[in-house]
Symmetry: D2
């Protein structure tokens, strides 16, 4: 049994700042508010509903995670954020069309009180969007100062003890890391010289980390995964986590691919198509934005089915991913996967999966868990990359010398064993030989 870390208690209010207050953000906030009032259940959130096994199986200890680690409670949360539209959360939730109107009406007052601050916006990074609630400064350094002030004001106005920030905004266009991203010094120089390679999402992250506020990147944007921001996170002892919420089809892929790997089944091809009808789909209809998503989704299989290690089984997988904007579905999303596999002696089989899911419903509990776990990490003095939160990401961030882990089940074990480690509980290995050794002795002698 290890010693547990010292973790400060989650007293006072925790402010959750959301850059991007559309479907995901409003579904998240509405769900928390409704859960507080007993109108809904926060299903899909590990922090609120999952159990964690502790000790030996025969001890039958499986508390809720929220009863095991010191997390902020739903009652302590306060919501704020930025958006390029000036709609308050009540209006935005109705426009998003995710939740039934009667539910939205029942928490109207709370939602109306959450209004967006003016956003940092750069049309080059989101071609299909256009909004009016934007900051007017054209100098990046001035924008950073505004964001720092926004953060400070929000904390004071709402009497928050601590803050976290979770990006719920759009996918930016594809771009690759440049010289300006390679160190904190160069990045700050770039801010001062208005370098066009500094994307809006990076500016939010910079302002958060500078303020010591943990930051999570929900979209596939190039943002946290640049040396400059990793450096800043360590400097200010701030946890970071990213990127790209793992929701529909990729979630399913990281469930099924580990199953094929486990049984050593070969894979010849994996064709994935996705049809969706919400604003996310509209943004991704622009090829430069789709590319960002495509790259984020594409590596998932390679990470699980290692073709270098096992070329006979996975050396030649035709992996094709398509995302199609199809308005009849609205916020619903459908994935259709066709998987061509082969088994014993090369005989071929197929798996076809049709996942009728809902984008924001799957993303909202991730926002909640990240907010609470990042706040825990901050209090436990875990700084920088939080690999133990890989579970939530399509493209988990790791140290440069490590391969990211995509297998959902290894990700979950990493998360759970990290919690056990933090609390000084024994790690679980599923070995279990001890149960049997005593028995054998009982019976035999």
């Amino acid at each position: 049994m290890q010693n547990s870390r010292t973790i400060s208690a989650p007293t006072g209010k925790l402010g959750v700042l959301l850059p991007g207050m559309g479907a995901v953000a409003t579904t998240f906030a509405a769900g928390v508010i409704a859960s507080r009032k007993g109108l809904a259940h926060p299903t899909g959130s590990l922090t609120q509903t999952a159990n964690i096994r502790l000790g030996k199986r025969t001890e039958h200890r499986s508390p809720k995670i929220r009863d095991f680690v010191p997390l902020a409670s739903l009652d302590q949360l306060v919501f704020g954020g930025w958006d390029i539209y000036s709609d308050n959360m009540y209006q935005a939730a109705l426009k998003a069309g995710v939740l039934e109107r009667s539910m939205v009406e029942s928490i109207r007052e709370e939602l109306e009180n959450i209004t967006p601050m003016k956003a940092v916006f750069d049309k080059r990074y989101a071609k299909n969007l256009e909004g009016e609630n934007v900051k007017t400064h054209s100098e990046k350094w001035a924008l950073i100062e505004e964001l720092l002030t926004d953060i400070e004001n929000f904390k004071n106005t709402n009497g928050c003890d601590r803050l976290v920030m979770v990006w719920c905004g759009s996918t930016e266009i594809y771009h690759e890391a440049q010289e300006v991203h390679s160190s904190l010094a160069k990045f700050e120089e770039g801010l001062r010289t208005n370098d066009p390679d500094i994307a809006p999402s990076m500016m939010y992250a910079y302002a958060a980390l500078k303020s010591g506020v943990p930051f999570a990147m929900g979209a596939p944007n190039l943002c946290l995964d640049i040396p400059a921001l990793e450096e800043l996170a360590l400097l200010t002892n701030t946890p970071i986590a990213g990127k790209d919420f793992k929701t529909g089809q990729t979630l399913m892929k990281t469930i099924v691919a580990p199953g094929l790997r486990a049984r050593a089944l070969g894979v010849r091809g994996w064709f994935s198509t996705n049809i969706l009808g919400n604003r996310d789909g509209l943004v991704l209809d622009a090829p430069e934005n789709f590319k960002t998503k495509e790259v984020s989704k594409g590596n998932v299989l390679d990470g699980i089915l290692n073709g270098e290690q096992n070329p006979e089984l996975w050396g030649d997988i035709h992996h094709k991913v398509r995302i199609e904007y199809y308005p009849p579905l609205g916020d619903n999303k459908e994935g259709w996967d066709n998987i061509d596999i082969f088994g014993w002696m090369g005989y071929q089989m197929q798996i076809k999966i049709n996942f009728l899911c809902r984008d924001s419903i799957l993303a909202a509990p991730i926002v909640l868990d990240l907010a609470l776990f990042l706040d825990l990490a901050k209090r436990a003095e875990l700084a920088g990359i939080q690999e133990w939160l890989s579970f939530y990401w399509k493209a988990p961030q790791t140290l440069p010398e490590l391969e990211p882990i995509h297998d959902l089940f290894k990700q979950l074990e990493k998360l759970e064993n990290t919690l056990r480690y933090l609390m000084g509980e024994e790690l679980i290995t599923n070995l279990g030989m001890d149960y049997y050794q005593s028995v054998e002795e009982d019976i035999r002698y």
Copy 2:
């Protein structure tokens, strides 16, 4: 780093005895023979094709399992068995229709040399079958003596160093454990008094264990899971493993259900239908035989989605399983699953999975792995129930005080960590905090 167990080397021939020499057994033997000749690849077999990660991720050590633990090689295997039809394996493989004729012809001679011994058969236990290659004694004890002689003769004739036995026969009718099964003494008394509750499969298992031959139960039959045979296994230091090969739909279920559990998604219903056209389907068309299968398949979900622990999410799952005999599919098998799930705030979603699989192709590598791992267990002096082989079973056997583990990924971790334990390698927990602690220190100070 723990000390490794002393494991005797796998020298000499290993005889694999197969009660039931139909589609699964012939596909298994043909695949091993073809692999030896370089005509096919033993895909789907962990012992032959899977890698196992050892040590830290940065060590990049992932040998093949067969290069890590001392297993018998394919060249050392010899095949034999019993069947109620007198077809040799060449004839039986053609009748089964699983493999392409050209493949069967290319190894005709080897297959023709494998002929079944006369089987112990009791029509009450398999209503839809009828065969002529059966032992004629009506006294159970006399049948046992014949089986013991069969085993001994096979070992001597073929110059085997060791034997294992893997049941590849049919599903017997549903029956529950009785007094006669409750201890070895009562069981042996029942054999002498011809107790009708002793099924043919139990008689094979008794003969194997009595001879110190490890035994695996591929069908859902009540057999190994009675106190009498568990007692005998410990007495003769013999490993046992069961039951019911986890192949098509249940395999998929134990992949997907852990994924839903991981993400804390609620489940309202799971409807599974299975259409198949082989002899297995014909046997299961008899209601009493289907019941045995149904019970075996039914507990899988409860084991993963624990309704007592988490009634809001899994307290009321309508789980319905159907198996339908549908001759157009032949040995192919299709599962169609419709899963009704719910997430954040109770919103409903659906997953539909159509698995176009092949029964014997998925079962054959399991037979191989079990033969090699049970032989390993014998040499490593692991006696009785082998919970670490849960991976292969629809209904894994455990100690009475333990819940069986159905989650494929926990099963795999248990298997892998057991191998690491046997070889004195460090267990893998996926914690990985150490990678990060040094980095933080590097950068910060």
Copy 3:
């Protein structure tokens, strides 16, 4: 151009009597009422929304059916009926759970005014049902007299000009035609002697036909298809139509099978499973009631893919139909069909269809169309079996010497050409050679 029939005008009110006022009946009535108020659109009803092409293609004449033939309008309809529960239609609609609550509330008053008369009920014919709003006479003849009075009273109270009756009740147990059903005289004798082979549905049909009220049988019950009632229909100049509304999976089957037939594709098997969660599903969970449905559904394929005529293609079809009660779906219904086909040189292909449908939503417009078309038939003096309404039935009624037509497209052509015939329009054959003959002459000479 033929002469049209003389058809009396649809003046005054048309009363629609519904034995069985559950999900289908309430969805039907609610939809008509909501359509009258402009709150909904009667989609799926040919009489309200379909067009019919008249004359040559170049004439571009395609009026709505309701503008072409003299039908009663929605405003002229009045609703009534019988049920074993005393709920009014508002209560019954809420219990059925088909329509959104806000829709039901918006027409609450109209629905509350529709209350069921006491039903004729016989538990032997519907094992899983139990109700309290039933007629207490045990003598069948007395029950008939009550029904005749109910009909007369309803007509007078509501000031109806004409009536039709559409059975929306449950599936009765399977039974076959007996001596008592073989002539009107014997049937009436049976009513007087309380013959147990006279089912409740037959008594409603007898009362309707005796009153000259057209009758349609929405369930697969043995009812109209007995000589006694056919005789009565002709005697009273009354149209009859049945049986078993063609809604989800069978509808799809009579769409796809004609397509396979058209392209001369062979069929080896057709596996259909159906999962549904409403009261209909509960009734069909009783094997004797399921049998009635199974027989009704089973003949559909044979009627389209004629194995006697073309044994190479359709001589050996494994057709299996399953209906499974699965409560999570509620009134939703899902069909999953797997169709094994073969083409050129015998090569095999598969079609898989997953139909996520809604039972009552598909049935309600059929009730409306039948009510209006049967009333038209009555006014057009078409008595007895209405084969031209085969379109609406899983098991269409025909003369004994004719094979029923199951192909949805031949059924539609029959329906449309019958309307053209009644109105003196030219029948459509899709020949169209004339368009081309003139052109050739124009160009060539």
Copy 4:
């Protein structure tokens, strides 16, 4: 009963010329040859396997089509053609990988004797192709003269009585009709001046029609549907038919959409994706070639679900079609359709269809039927556009003032009634009132 047309008898050999001798052409020829030898059955061919109903239902007359109309028999067919690769049909069939090797071997000699003539090829029209067996003239008129000579030589060498030509080549790039296509005179001028807008497929068609040889266009190429070639067809009394063989997903669409139309169900969206791995897929991977296919496929729904006529149901259909090159499937092809429909009161439902088909297996019988029916048309003196063959096409050709008919069932009725018309049999309208009128009279009086 009408008088039949005078149709000359199909005496002597019929030569079938195939521009493009890849997967479709070899599967067609191999199937005909194997059928002649009794090794296979020409399933999927109406001319060989379908029956046609004649007269009243009670007459029970349903001969095979080939026994009803005077068609050439399989024994009379001779095969030839052109290809850019010099492989004979044996080699090409093996490369195509559609048929099992053992089948190809069993007719090796016949296939080896069919070798391609040098092709007219223009890389601008098929970017992803490259071949060496091409005519070297760069002057279009010279190429035409070579084609005319090829046709004449083939006829004489093989002793053919008549010829037909069926394009089985690739999809050319998208281009629209120009001035040069607007009349025969301008087209011939363009041939002499090497107009780049004259595609290779047009040159084959010109040569065929000039020679009085019926021509069918199996790809979606702009070819027959230009005024120049329609004029030539009438001038030489030659039938033409096109375009784009209706095989997998579009076939299914023209089966299911008429079903939705029949039942007056609304459609909000239809998403179709297609994955295929053969050379056709490779060609369509080039965007300019895909566009040709997309346009051909896109109009199918509009033709069936007429949004102008019925805007409430079909006025706003999101129809999206995708074709994806996915090598693991080889010549197999999978369509996945998701159809969003709505019924009574606007309630939504979905249909999902997964069609696991084989491209060449579905196309080959179409080639056969077109060859035989076009030869019949020629002998029956039906010149120009053959609208009665719409059944076989994704984009059926019609007179300019007519809308093409896409509904598979109207297409079939048109085809069948044309055959009845040609043979002087009564057209079938499915009215059938006469059966009932006599009965009523029998019973009533």
